[in-house]
Amino acid sequence: MSPEPVQTRIFEEEILSVSDVSLSFGGVKAIQNVSFDIKRGEIRAIIGPNGAGKTSMLNVINGFYHPQEGLIRFKGKARRRMRPSIAAAQGIARTFQNVALFKGMSTLDNIMTGRLPRLEKGIFGEIVNVFLQAAYLGPARRSELEQRKYVEEIIDFLEIQHIRRTPVGRLPYGLQKRVELGRALAMEPELLLLDEPMAGMNLEEKEDMSRFIIDVNDQYGTTIALIEHDISVVMDLSDRIIVLDYGRKIADGTPGEVQSNQAVMDAYLGVPHE
């Protein structure tokens, strides 16, 4: 399937840049000297064969792994190590390769948890909040209802009204992925990291998910970085693509450029294209 030529969108402002990042576990080098940037508003794909370091890259971006070398600059602020919860508070949300939902909770509650970092308060505020919550009084109740309303918009957006009260453990895989996306959206992220959002989906589910990703990008203006194996999906969705192989970046550019890149063909696509 050859991708249709996509109208090239132009993005100016850099939201994230990764410079010369290296990460290793023990002796194993997961990422070596990788640099790239993500511009505000674009859909950026990271592709590469299994074990190329894609998921590790996302883990570095949201502070879950701490690279030994290099800098990550998000919204102009540079850092090397940080707690994931701080990354979340700064506006980075993500989904996971193997769905990481809270199995004991309903769809609604799962998405509601995405609102939690928005409600962070200082220690004193937290203590007051616990009391208010317990009494279900005043600001606590009001905030609860406001969050609910916000989350309902997401539920509506993702068309999962019918599973609102279902414990997520009972949902089919495709819907779980959608709920997970919902939870990430509830964080009102500026940068959304999607780790194989369409893994294990059938064609119809993939189309739905693609539509949601485009709509998120379109409607909320969210910058998206995604890892995906289905090349045709990647070519359709993304504005620019990074190709990783054995922890190194081997190509970076528009779908057209990447597709015609010899190194990519050799390393990743394996067989000559078409």
Binding site: L108, H162, Q219
Partner: protein
């Protein structure tokens, strides 16, 4: 909220006047709800007035003129309902369009009505409209309710509903007199003004635009509301197409007349869930919905534990024996009452509740004949389900079953203000305040239908039974005569047979012939499960259809129908003399059924000519080969030997017997 009937409405002869009235007298009473974002978002009458006012002024600002048409297309949504009254308030005419119609149909209706504005629900319809915009030149503006996916649409004549309202609100802020001006326009309106165009989805030919005046709709709505004692605290679920006259009367007309609240489901898929939540007190559904619900109930109960299943069966039996009599207020022995009360605690109450039927005070069904078993099932549970007979041209109500006079096989007596008579030909004619003004731009059809003295040809054949209740038997044009001049109503006979769960399709022959005969299609699911229970082996539909035991079973059904037909004056002559069970299922792919699953009688008669011949030449067995289309599109031949059975007929009872 004190419950009050519909009184003191003199002078409230248009929808906009009723809106002003309701906003004044019931300002805080909910007017409309919509399941959205997880809850039932509600608007009370004063809020609706504000919304409608903003919309009306906004539409005017966009250039909507009195007399112009505004098409409305989408699922049942509050904003679309508001568009009706907003349009009417500025003298424009709303034209609801079926939201599932294909682009050309939509184009035809819009072109024919000359719609200048279109208000639609979402992107799907917007896309459809752009698709037809080449052919339909009259559309000036398109307004959508749900902005999802429409952000990138740059077309200048495309507006969001909210923006239009905002225009209106701004205008009202800038010029406060606009409000009084708007109300003056409303008060200048008359009952005889055109209220709405409702396009009938004709089975043949192009849809016709039925023009109804405010009087047509409101007088009918009011009369029947008084008849049934409807109050402002009724709960109604609006889930049938807005373009259909029934929804227009029940969800719009009567809501404005009575002030009751209408609830719009979240989506068609969640309708049953929403039905359960709302628990309507006043409910309309076509027979097929009742039929589907009953089937689901029975299927779900199949999986229940044996004890529960027994309990269920037993109490359904109790209900069958006493339920209807109790509902009708007849004398029932104490034992029956006690058993029924127990059943109500254990089965009927919870069952009705789970279905969302427990609060129904008045339930209507109409549109086609409902199976007597289904009808009685619901009534025996204590649901006051009634049949009515109506048409778009009559603003629905022609006849309705009065409380206490409910018969499964009639459609009741003429509704208040309606006169009904039977023409020489057997066609039902009626005259009422609800009779439509005309077919839009179609004087020819108008004059064919509306004849001298204001009588309207319904196009249906029927007769009054000895209780004075109307029975509809068929479309008038389909009613024929046997050679002995006895009336032959094929659909009536077919329906009677189709009410048996074992029978799926029936084709009746008899017009211009000596006697009435039928082809029968058995229902593979029902008969198949019967076969399993009775250890009747079969490999295919064909084998099952040829089975003697199956023939015996069907014969018993036909015999019962004959016995029933014998008791009905006028058509007792067309009892079934011979029948056969077809060796294949009638199939739309083979052209035997329409896409809406109606039998194409003439086509079938032609295709199976040897069988028809055999039915009339007295043979007991016949052979046929037929070409069929398989599911994968391949064609092939199947051959079969088909048995034909003779039936005995019954003598019509003497008038003495009939009187008992």
């Amino acid at each position: 909220m004190p419950a009050k009937g519909v009184t003191g409405q003199e002078g409230l002869d248009t929808f906009p006047k009723l809106l002003l009235h309701n906003a004044r007298t019931l300002p805080d009473h909910p007017s409309i709800r919509e399941k959205d974002l997880g809850i039932w978002q509600s608007w009370n009458w004063s809020e609706v007035l504000e919304e409608v006012r903003a919309l009306a002024i906004g539409l005017q600002k966009l250039g909507l003129q009195a007399g112009e048409k505004i098409a409305i297309c989408g699922e049942n949504r509050p904003r679309l309902y508001w568009t009706f009254v907003a349009a009417q308030s500025v003298g424009a005419v709303p034209v609801p369009v079926y939201q599932d119609s294909v682009a050309e149909e939509m184009a035809y209706v819009m072109e024919h009505a000359g719609a200048a504005f279109v208000v639609v629900e979402d992107q799907e319809q917007v896309d459809k409209l752009f698709q037809i915009s080449e052919t339909v030149s009259c559309i000036r503006h398109i307004i959508y309710d749900d902005p999802r996916g429409l952000r990138d649409y740059q077309e200048e004549n495309l507006h969001s509903f909210k923006d239009v309202q905002e225009k209106g609100r701004k205008a009202l802020r800038d010029a406060p007199q606009a409000k009084t001006g708007w109300e003056e326009t409303i008060n200048a309106g008359k009952g005889s003004d055109i209220s709405v165009f409702l396009y009938t989805s004709g089975t043949t030919g192009r849809p016709k635009g039925v023009v109804l005046s405010h009087d047509n709709v409101l007088i009918t709505a009011r009369e029947t509301a008084i008849l049934e004692g409807l109050r402002p605290d009724e709960e109604v679920l609006a889930y049938l197409p807005m373009a259909w006259v029934g929804d227009h009367i029940f969800s719009y007309g009567q809501s404005y007349v009575c002030g009751f609240c209408v609830s719009c489901p979240e989506s068609p898929e969640t309708m049953l869930q929403d039905l359960r939540e709302i628990g309507p007190t006043y409910f309309f559904a076509p027979p097929r919905i009742f039929e589907n619900i009953l089937t689901t109930v029975m299927i779900r109960m199949e999986d229940a534990a044996p004890l529960k299943r027994k309990l269920f069966k037993y109490f359904l039996g109790v209900a069958k024996e006493y339920g209807e009599a109790i509902l009708n207020g007849e004398n029932v022995p104490l034992k029956g009452r006690l058993l029924y009360a127990l059943g109500n605690i254990l089965i009927y109450g919870p069952l009705k509740n789970t279905l969302g039927f427990s609060r129904i005070r008045i339930g209507y069904t109409a549109g086609e004949a409902i199976g007597p078993e289904i009808f009685r099932f619901y009534r025996s549970l204590g649901i006051n389900l009634k049949q009515l007979y109506g048409q778009t041209e009559a603003a629905v109500f022609i006849t309705v079953q009065p409380d206490g006079e409910i018969h499964a096989d009639t459609v009741g007596v003429p509704a208040p203000g309606v006169e009904v008579k039977i023409a020489e030909s057997g066609e039902v004619l009626y005259r009422s305040p609800g009779v439509f003004v005309e077919y839009y731009k179609n004087p020819e059809s108008t004059s064919e239908t509306k004849t001298g003295g204001g009588w309207v040809h319904s196009g249906d054949a029927g007769f009054f039974d000895d209780r004075g209740h109307l029975k509809i038997i068929d479309r008038a044009k389909d009613v024929g005569r046997l050679n002995n001049d006895a009336m032959f109503a094929p659909k009536y006979i077919e329906n009677k047979l189709k009410f048996y769960p074992n029978i799926k399709e029936v084709v009746a022959f008899g017009d211009g012939r000596d006697m009435c005969t039928v082809f029968i299609n058995i229902d593979l699911t029902a008969v198949g499960s019967w076969a399993e229970r009775n250890n009747v082996p079969y490999a295919s539909y064909q084998e099952l259809a040829a089975n003697d035991l199956v023939y015996d079973m069907i014969e018993a059904h036909v015999d019962e129908v004959n016995a029933g037909l014998a008791r009905e004056p006028g058509i007792s002559g067309s009892q079934i003399r011979r029948f056969l069970i077809l060796h294949k299922e009638l199939d739309a792919d083979d052209g035997e059924l329409t896409r809406t699953r109606k039998v194409r009688r003439a086509f079938i008669a032609d295709r199976y000519a040897p069988l028809v011949t055999a039915l009339y030449d007295g043979s007991e067995m016949t052979h046929i080969e037929t070409e069929v289309t398989f599911e994968d599109g391949r064609k092939g031949m199947i051959a079969a030997d088909i048995q034909i059975r003779d039936m005995q007929t019954y003598e019509p009872p003497t008038s003495m017997e009939a009187a008992q």
